[in-house]
């Protein structure tokens, strides 16, 4: 659902369009918890330990050094969808998570693709041995893009926004875990006492140690107090800032022409050094056929194409291409609470997964440019469990399992049990329609009838993605937009699902228990072991019929040099190192 959000948020068709732009599937999710950018990526990465308590992380020295500016100057024209707003606290669009990475910063950020916490505005950060106090030492030379002085005041101002009594949104668990946050929210205190600032130092005290504090609180994009201090928290999104914001990132927003383009220019006083490019122009296209023509004629310098279009660019000397890992995984989803069909039976779901010939789908639908998928977590992230059960193509096994459940093949090839045919409806969007049509015959082959399809627009689809409102659907989930632990919780932790609208009805007490233990884990190693166990169980239960992750196919003009990237988000995250020559 989240992945779909990307496009859907703004425009239903977008879904299809963005996917096309983004290389058939580059879609991530609505919300990136955190993706500030510095050019220091390569050197700033400590170890996984950075995120666990009682450790110190030190940023690598200067960013400018990391990417010796070979050819400063120039302009790049890129293609990205239109965000809803450029205000970090309000945007729900995936594209904003990309934009955010080159216009703003948080105290720390997540490093792609393994999603480990690394320093950003904070040069160093430490956690006390009990994991209840974090200290951030902010970089001394940070400036706001309007020239305003940056200080720890801004950090306190931003974090307090999330706990502000006048903020209509309720506090999230991790903010509520800050000492004094609840008192502030309840108007019993004038500020959040657990956030102490002095000079370049920010010290935050927690009620209890939390392994998710850094990834949900410390990564928050910082807002300029000098601009927003007199604005009521409920009105931030209505302020002019939302369309022409001021952050601390390497590029600043010059102009947003609605429906047309957003222009960014280099922020010369960026604290890690000036980016190479002078200017970025982001063009906004509603229709998938439009960016392609512009890419080919050189109007666009960079964009993402579909597998069908990729070959042409790959063999053309005027273009450089990169195949990025699929960050959006697609899967079949079932309403397990359904009483008519056996969606609640683990063996049924396994049979469905065994029926899908992923290799054929990848070669037929994506010219081989897709990876088979067997799990929700991206294999690139630190939580992924490579040894979790996989139910690969094995139709004989599917038939065996369905026979075992008592569904016998009827005269027309569709299975029947107690007079009920194994034939159910599938809700699809225009994006998933063709893909599902290619899967249909594979399910038919094991005696499952899925010819009833209901293609709806994105908005309708979102409202039907809930138990009791569909039988089968095809869903996509983007990794790397948020903390990978949250990816898993969103789908397997039943209280989290219940709060957000449950699509499957999956509930496993043991899994819920393991999530609770993981939230209290003292070390990253212990946490990883617990998440491995969660995936052993959930993937073993075959919560979803995982299908494929289409690769993201980047095309850029030869004269543009992009950073080496594994995933799409890195392309934008590394924007300061882009060169045009």
């Amino acid at each position: 659902m989240r992945s779909m959000k990307l496009a859907g948020g703004s425009d239903g068709l977008t879904r299809r369009q963005l996917l096309a732009l983004a290389g058939g599937a580059a879609a991530l999710s609505a919300l990136a918890a955190c993706t500030p950018s510095t050019p220091t990526t390569a050197t700033a990465a400590p170890s996984a330990a950075a995120a666990s308590p009682a450790t110190t992380a030190t940023a690598a020295p200067s960013a400018a050094a990391a990417s010796p500016a070979k050819k400063p100057g120039g302009q790049a024209v890129i293609s990205l969808g239109e965000p809803d707003t450029l205000l970090s606290t309000a945007s729900r669009a995936l594209v904003f998570s990309y934009i955010r990475s080159f216009i703003s910063n948080g105290m720390v950020r997540l490093k792609y693709p393994d999603m480990i916490v690394v320093p950003d505005l904070a040069d160093t950060f430490t956690a006390s041995p009990d994991g209840k106090t974090y200290t951030f030492n902010l970089h001394p030379k940070v400036k706001w893009q309007d020239g305003g002085a940056f200080s720890s005041e801004d950090a306190k101002f931003t974090l307090e926004f999330f706990c502000h009594p006048q903020n209509p949104a309720p506090m999230t668990t991790d903010f509520a875990n800050i000492v004094g946050a609840k008192e502030f929210k309840d108007k019993l205190a004038g500020d959040v006492t657990g956030i102490k600032i002095s000079g370049d130092k920010v010290e935050i005290s927690l009620l209890a140690a939390s392994p998710t504090f850094l990834t949900s609180v410390a990564v928050t994009t910082l807002l300029p107090k000098h601009i927003l201090k007199d604005v009521a928290p409920a009105d931030f999104a209505k302020h002019a800032f939302a369309r022409k914001p001021v952050y601390t990132g390497p590029f600043k927003v010059d102009e947003w022409k609605a429906g047309e383009s957003i222009t960014y220019s280099a922020f010369a006083d960026h604290f890690r050094g000036r980016p190479n490019l002078d200017k970025i122009v982001q063009r906004i296209y509603p229709d998938p056929s439009a960016p392609l023509a512009d890419l080919r004629t050189g109007v666009l310098q960079q964009g993402f194409v579909t597998a069908d279009q990729y070959a042409e660019f790959k063999s053309n000397a005027n273009f450089a291409t990169q195949e990025l890992a699929g960050t959006l995984g697609w899967f079949l989803s079932w309403d397990m609470t359904n009483k008519t069909f056996p969606f609640g039976e683990k063996d049924f779901r396994i049979a469905m997964s065994h029926a899908v010939d992923r290799a054929t789908l990848a070669s037929a639908l994506f010219k081989g440019l897709a990876e088979p998928s067997y799990s929700l977590a991206s294999p690139l992230s630190w939580v992924a469990n490579a040894n979790a059960p996989k139910y690969a193509y094995d139709p004989a096994r599917s038939r065996q399992l369905l026979d075992g459940l008592g569904w016998k093949v009827g005269p027309d090839g569709i299975r029947v049990k107690n007079g009920q045919r194994l034939e159910f409806a599938t809700v699809l969007t225009t994006t998933t329609r063709d893909w599902f049509l290619a899967i249909q015959p594979m399910l038919q082959a094991i005696g499952v009838g899925t010819s009833k399809v209901d293609v709806v627009d994105f908005g309708t689809w979102v409202s039907r993605l809930a138990v009791g409102k569909y039988e089968q659907t095809m869903n996509g989930w983007g990794n790397f937009a948020i903390d990978p632990r949250a990816d898993l919780a969103s789908h397997f932790h039943s209280p989290t699902k219940a709060a957000r609208g449950d699509a499957t009805g999956y509930k496993n007490e043991q899994v819920d228990q393991l999530f609770l233990q993981a939230a209290k884990a003292a070390t990253r190693d212990e946490e990883k072991r617990l998440y491995d166990q969660i995936q052993n169980i959930a993937d073993g239960d075959c919560v979803y019929g995982y299908l494929f992750r289409p690769k993201v196919l980047n095309v850029n003009a030869k004269n543009v040099r992009l950073p080496q990237a594994k995933i799409q988000a890195e392309v934008y995250d590394g924007m300061p190192t882009w060169e045009v020559g």
Binding site: D11, G12, L13, S29, Y285, A290, A293, G459
Partner: protein, 317 residues
């Protein structure tokens, strides 16, 4: 005349209330849940969902929501669900593009349509007339979206003569006609073709009618040269009413703009409308609908008034 216009303007008020109630009813009875579509699934908790519904006013009873929405619409404070931008501002940003495109399409449709219609009327039932008839028939039978794609395929993808999308070159702003010219050619053709077809047919038949009229016969019998007859008498009497049909074709133009702006990635109101529909951005849909209705009503009024100017026999009662 002045009194007539005022009366017509007053009559628009109940009609607009009807339009707003109808559009609002369609939206309010919708099964989908905009809060769910807008909510960020990551941050969404049971409480934040309730807060969002309250913020959007989704829990108020229907008539209350209607009253609240309409009063904020009138004061200009109505905001998009999705962007929190004032809807009037969003429309203000997009309106110039749509107006420019509409004006160009009207210009294109009128000039070419009149030309074709006149040529046809001068040689009725000839080969030329047949070609013209076929042209206008094709003109209003052709699907906008397909026509647009075919033009893009030919002139942008194959020949590379014209850009396939956008309204001005990268980095340009403002309204420099020279810079923008290549960008508006294809959209103008697609949007103007329907109009062209109507105008050509209208002009052909009203010219033929005029050429049959007594005053034309009189002119002829006075021994005036055929060209003078055509230009002075028939043309003048049959072309003035043409202007008025543009007013009645506004709905056609607005509907066409939805498709054309979408296919050519033009930042106009039609595209804003499509985006809003798919995002369930009800305040935007509602405002654009009412806005278009006002445009259509004023178009009709202008057409009726102009028709009276063109044909003094009409009296306004």
């Amino acid at each position: 005349m002045g009194r007539y216009i005022v009366r017509r303007l007053l009559q628009m008020i109940p009609l607009l209330i009807g339009v707003s109630v109808l559009s609002y009813a369609i939206i309010i009875l919708a099964p989908g849940d905009p809060a769910k579509l807008l909510a960020d699934p990551e941050k969404m908790t049971a409480e934040s969902y309730v807060a969002m519904r309250a913020e959007l006013g989704l829990d108020d009873p229907g008539p209350v929501r209607y009253a609240k929405t309409m009063s904020s619409l009138i004061t200009g404070e109505l905001r998009s669900f999705r962007t929190q931008q004032r809807v009037v501002d969003a429309i203000g940003e997009r309106l110039p593009t749509s107006l420019a495109l509409g004006a160009l399409a009207i210009l294109f449709g009128l000039t070419l349509g009149m030309l074709i219609g006149i040529v046809q009327a001068l040689r009725p039932y000839s080969r030329v007339d047949d070609v013209g008839t076929m042209l206008s028939l094709t003109g209003f039978s052709i699907p906008h979206f397909w026509f647009a794609l075919m033009l893009v395929m030919l002139f942008s993808v194959r020949l590379r003569w014209l850009p396939s999308s956008g309204i001005r070159p990268i980095g340009a702003s403002g309204w420099n006609p020279l810079e923008m010219a290549p960008y508006v050619v294809l959209p103008t053709i697609v949007l103007g073709t329907g109009l062209l077809a109507y105008v050509a047919r209208f002009v052909r038949s009203s010219m033929l009618e005029a050429l049959e009229q007594d005053y034309t016969r009189t002119a002829r019998s006075k021994g005036l040269r055929e060209r003078v007859v055509v230009v002075r008498h028939a043309l003048r009497n049959s072309l003035l009413p043409v202007i008025t049909i543009v007013g009645f074709l506004l709905p056609l133009l607005i509907g066409g703009a939805v498709v054309v702006e979408y296919v050519f990635a033009l930042p106009g109101m039609g595209r804003l409308a499509v985006d809003a529909v798919f995002a369930r951005d009800y305040p935007v849909i509602l405002t654009i609908t009412i806005f278009s209705a006002i445009a259509v009503m004023i178009g009709n009024l202008a057409a009726d008034v102009l028709y009276g100017v063109a044909d003094p026999r009409i009296r306004y009662g």
